[in-house]
């Protein structure tokens, strides 16, 4: 289906003091599942509610409470797996990850260590037109989110908000196929785009709906290729995991800092210690959170409160059949069907809503012209107004009308901008605007001829000059346009001016 072909991008090379280095990056993205209720309880998942108001007895781990799986969350995970062209495991199981923390009331997180619901898949990470990295997905499992501990409200007390406790997360684990900070950010961007297309995660990084743990190591050029041939990790450097990042910018900065830190260590003859690190955006540096030796022993074991999760192939097939068109396919189709450049197609398909808007504008119109209007005029205006496409004040069919008026020659591109502005601000119909405001282009050659004659008659000296230098005909066109209030069809004006001047 995918018609477009891509070359892989070159890996980022960082020059050390002694030699060049490459980066190897793998990611674990935690994506909050879009669902009304939590993974194992009926409590609401609504963001921003009063602290501890979305908490059931199960979430609070009251004695004797038991988890019951939310089928919709499972469906969302399956949908995500299908969207990443991944293997769906019809048999999966839940395990307990045991550790103590006040925002984890059960004292364990229910997760899927041994048998995840989704197996291997892939994501095509677009870097530039014709350039994309294929990143392999190792697995996706579903698990419970923790609550929030708040330590800075009181000098002696900590507070706990359990609203987020038990909300469903998908942990999407990639292979170490990402080769630079920009690729890492592009990977998260693409993953977020797919999740939003699928409707399985709102992708809101600010609210923490999407968080990334980044595994970074450095190696000498050539080492990665040896790893890819053998899948033997010993060809790669020791990795550090940078935890819990929720901004594309921080992800890039953290990777950049971490790579340089590791290079400096290795070039000084030291060894990178495998550990978990945190990125401090204020200082722009990563710092150690806990070493491998201090790593928790999570004592994973199968959760005896839950039976293995068994799903039917027919159910998976039904979800698959109802999948929306995904970004790669949509982009390829836009290029093919509308004759767009890959770049324009990328811009238009970044959000499913925008792509849908564009398709409505393009209906019955020239695709490229429609794309120009959506990308340049509409997106530009929305950005200026900090307005989302979903709250766009001008409906797609009205912008389509404007494009149609241009194509028909009823208005010029210049006038169209005025029409757009009025339609955008007032909510009026474009055709009505053109009619009421007398903006319709004058295509009546008699009227144009009269205007041209008038200008020629009034400017004999200019006529002489123009006859010497035909380029000056433009001046007459301008004068005619001015005289007609910009409504004259520029093409007709051009032709008549040239004829009358005898050019």
């Amino acid at each position: 289906m995918l018609d477009l072909t891509y070359d892989p991008p070159k890996p980022k090379v960082i020059a050390g003091a002694k030699h060049d280095w490459e980066l190897v990056i793998g990611m674990e993205v935690h994506a909050q599942v879009r669902s009304r209720a939590k993974l194992f309880s009926g409590a609401s998942t609504q963001f921003g509610a009063e602290p501890n108001s979305n908490v059931s007895f199960v979430d609070a781990a009251m004695p004797g409470m038991l988890p019951v799986i939310n089928e919709f969350c499972v469906e969302q995970a399956v949908r995500t797996g299908l969207g990443l062209k991944a293997q769906i495991n019809l048999w999966s199981a839940f395990d307990r990850k045991n550790y103590f923390y006040p925002d984890l009331p059960q004292g364990y997180q229910i997760s899927q260590l041994y048998h995840p619901i989704v197996g291997e898949g892939e994501i095509l990470v677009d870097m530039a037109p014709g350039v994309a990295r294929k990143v392999r997905i190792e697995r996706i499992h579903i698990e419970q989110d923790a609550g929030k501990s708040i330590h800075d409200m009181d000098p002696n007390m900590s507070f706990v908000d359990l609203n987020r406790t038990g909300v469903a997360l998908m942990e999407i684990v990639s292979r170490p196929d990402i080769r630079g900070p920009e690729e890492a950010a592009a990977y998260v961007t693409k993953l977020r785009q797919i999740l939003r297309y699928l409707g399985t995660c709102d992708g809101n990084m600010q609210n923490g709906s999407l968080r990334a743990d980044v595994n970074v190591s450095v190696c000498r050029p050539g080492a990665y290729e040896r790893y890819m041939e053998t899948q033997d990790f010993s060809h790669l450097g020791t990795r550090c995991e940078i935890k819990n990042m929720n901004s594309m910018r921080f992800i890039q900065q953290a990777i950049d800092y971490e790579a340089k830190r590791q290079i400096a260590i290795v070039e000084a003859g030291g060894e990178v210690v495998q550990e978990t690190r945190l990125y401090d955006p204020d200082k722009g540096e990563t710092r150690s959170m806990r070493s491998k030796e201090e790593a928790h022993d999570y004592r994973y074991f199968p959760d005896p409160d839950l039976l293995p999760l068994e799903i039917e192939q027919a159910w998976v097939d039904a979800i698959k059949a109802a999948l929306p068109e995904l970004p790669d396919e949509k982009k390829a189709r836009f290029v093919k069907d509308f004759g767009l450049s890959e770049y324009d197609a990328s811009v238009l398909t970044a959000e499913a809503e925008a792509a849908g808007y564009f398709e409505k504008v393009a209906a019955g119109n020239d695709g490229k012209l429609a794309a120009n209007w959506v990308i340049n005029e509409l997106f530009g205006r929305l950005k200026k107004d900090e307005c989302d496409i979903t709250d766009c004040p001008i409906p797609a069919d009205r912008l389509g009308q404007i494009v149609k008026l241009i194509t028909k020659g009823d208005i010029s591109g210049k006038i169209a901008k005025d029409v757009f502005d009025i339609a955008y601000t007032s909510g009026r119909e474009p055709e009505e605007i053109v009619e009421t405001e007398g903006m319709k282009q004058v295509t009546d050659t008699g009227a144009i001829e009269a205007a041209v004659d008038e200008v020629i008659a009034a400017n004999p000296a200019q006529v002489e000059k123009a006859r010497q230098n035909p380029k000056l005909a433009g001046w007459f066109v301008g004068q005619v346009m001015k005289a007609t209030g910009g409504k004259a069809n520029p093409k007709a004006v051009n032709e008549i001016v040239s004829a009358k001047l005898g050019l």
Binding site: P105, G107, R299, P304
Partner: protein, 495 residues
């Protein structure tokens, strides 16, 4: 006429319906009995007001001719069940002051069937124990005593309060729970009947978890018929418990024909333990003879992995418990230690849990944490799970060969003295569960029936193990055994 509180469920039910007695009278008789039974320490929390209001409501329903299965019948509830608004502490200090805002599914079913709750019954802390000595409320004393001896005996555990209360006629019946024998062993020690149904029969929702894959609720009663009546009410699918089975619950009482002709009863050779007291051996042979005389076919069978059951159980149960008990951290409910200046969250956990959990619970949490830890998981937990699979297969095989039920001793001895095991290796205490844990590991139904008395007059029980989901058949076998054994002895009232 006997004291009302000495009635069986079946008798009381029939008399209530006949209008001979009222539930209020019955309930008052029980409340009086338990008022005078402080020495047994069976009830840890009494709910007389709730009981009387439920009894009045039951009388009204009976008068209207709308009497469900247990209408007006006073029962006791093991403290492991969460009961709305009533202290529910699982016998532990760590749940000090905890009053649930919800009702466990099983107790709700009992109330829906008209049962009257007299109060909460003592138990080993978090159901961990075989002698009822680990409760924060103190030990329970068995109403039975050895002939000419005033030494206090254990009622068994962990449902020791339930067993003692039923044996002493403080209530008509009680709920119990059984993770490794916690219904069946105390029933055997007190001359009562206790059944642990198939795993998945009773909802675990609202029952404080010990080991989730093994825990099951069940009734503790005076007769097999009573067990049938009460089990039927307690059973049933519950969508709130993912491990609860959506299988219809038959009319168990109607299946008590007493006719076991043509049934095949297996006698497992591996249950003949070294050093088993002769009295137990004799009782077992007697049971075999009784069932044979009732028309059953007796076959010798082999359950080859039996000897690995106890070690596997004492890996799996603590492993699950160590995780299940992690929630008792002092953050949201129950006990929280008073902290010193500068103490942080780690100190809060450590102090709270050190103060809140008794030594046996701490031991099992530590064992469970150890067997799940990195580097030991495969050697202990995973191996124990494999053993569990093999034990289950042993049973599957004999059932496939046509065995309907398996007869074994219930316990390796009669009730022992309280404090007798204080200095013993904990493993010696664990040996009490040797005949019962296999049933939990395999998820099967098991019932103990009083079948005789030892030389000192203490009750002894036999266990019957049934096919999964065939509690009706199992109860019928037990009914035949009960009839043949003719156990009618009662403890002499000394309390």
């Amino acid at each position: 006429m006997t004291d009302l509180n000495a009635f069986t469920l079946a008798d009381a039910r029939d008399r209530l319906r006949a209008g001979d007695i009222t539930s209020v009278e019955l309930t008052e008789a029980c409340l009086n009995a338990l008022e005078g039974a402080g020495a047994l320490n069976a009830f840890v929390h009494k709910t007389p007001e709730k009981a009387l209001s439920q009894a009045k409501a039951a009388d009204a329903r009976i008068a209207e001719g709308d009497a469900p299965a247990m209408c007006g019948l006073p029962v006791g509830i093991k403290d492991l069940f969460c009961t709305m608004g009533v202290p529910s502490q699982a016998g532990s200090a760590i749940l000090n002051g905890f009053r649930p805002e919800y009702e466990s599914t099983v107790t709700q079913k009992l109330f829906d069937a008209g049962a009257v709750m007299l109060g909460k019954l003592n138990m080993d802390e978090f159901a961990m124990g075989s002698s009822n000595e680990t409760s924060v409320y103190g030990k329970v004393v068995n109403p039975w005593r050895r002939a000419d001896d005033t030494a206090e005996l254990t009622p068994g555990g962990s449902s020791g309060g339930s067993a003692a209360a039923v044996a002493a006629d403080l209530c008509l019946a009680a709920t119990g729970t059984d993770t490794g024998g916690s219904i069946r062993q105390p029933a055997a020690f007190t001359g009562t009947v206790g059944i642990k149904p198939t795993y998945g029969r009773c909802s675990r929702w609202g029952i404080v978890a010990f080991a989730s894959s093994l825990d099951q609720a069940g009734p503790m009663t005076k007769t097999v018929r009573d067990a049938a009546i009460m089990l039927e009410v307690m059973c049933g699918y519950d969508p709130k418990d993912s491990t609860s089975a959506d299988i219809p619950v038959p009319d168990f009482e109607a299946m008590l024909t007493g006719d076991i002709r043509g049934k095949t009863i297996g006698i497992p050779r591996e249950y003949r333990m070294e050093g088993m007291p002769e009295e137990i051996e004799t009782l077992w042979s007697e049971g075999r003879r009784m069932l044979e005389e009732a028309g059953a076919k007796i076959v010798d069978i082999s359950l080859p992995h039996t000897k690995y059951a106890l070690p596997a159980y004492y890996v799996i149960a603590p492993a699950e418990a160590s995780s299940n008990l992690a929630r008792y951290d002092g953050v949201r409910y129950g006990h929280r230690a008073t902290l010193a200046q500068g103490d942080g969250i780690t100190e809060m956990y450590e102090k709270t849990r050190a103060e809140g959990f008794g030594p046996e619970v701490q031991r099992r949490v530590m064992v469970g944490t150890y067997v799940l830890s990195a580097g030991f998981y495969d050697a202990y937990y995973n191996r124990a799970r494999k053993v569990r699979t093999l034990i289950k297969r042993d049973f599957d095989d004999v059932f496939a060969q046509g065995v309907d039920a398996i007869l074994t001793p219930a316990t390796p001895s009669a009730a022992f003295g309280l404090g007798e095991m204080n200095d013993a290796d904990p493993v010696k205490m664990y040996l009490n569960d040797v005949f019962t844990v296999t049933v939990n590991l395999a998820g099967l139904p098991g019932i103990t029936v009083p079948a005789g008395q030892d030389s000192q007059g203490l009750p002894l029980g036999l266990q019957l193990i049934g096919r999964p989901w065939e509690e009706g058949d199992l109860l019928n076998c037990a009914h035949a055994l009960e009839a043949a054994a003719g156990f009618v002895a009662k403890p002499e009232k000394w309390w």
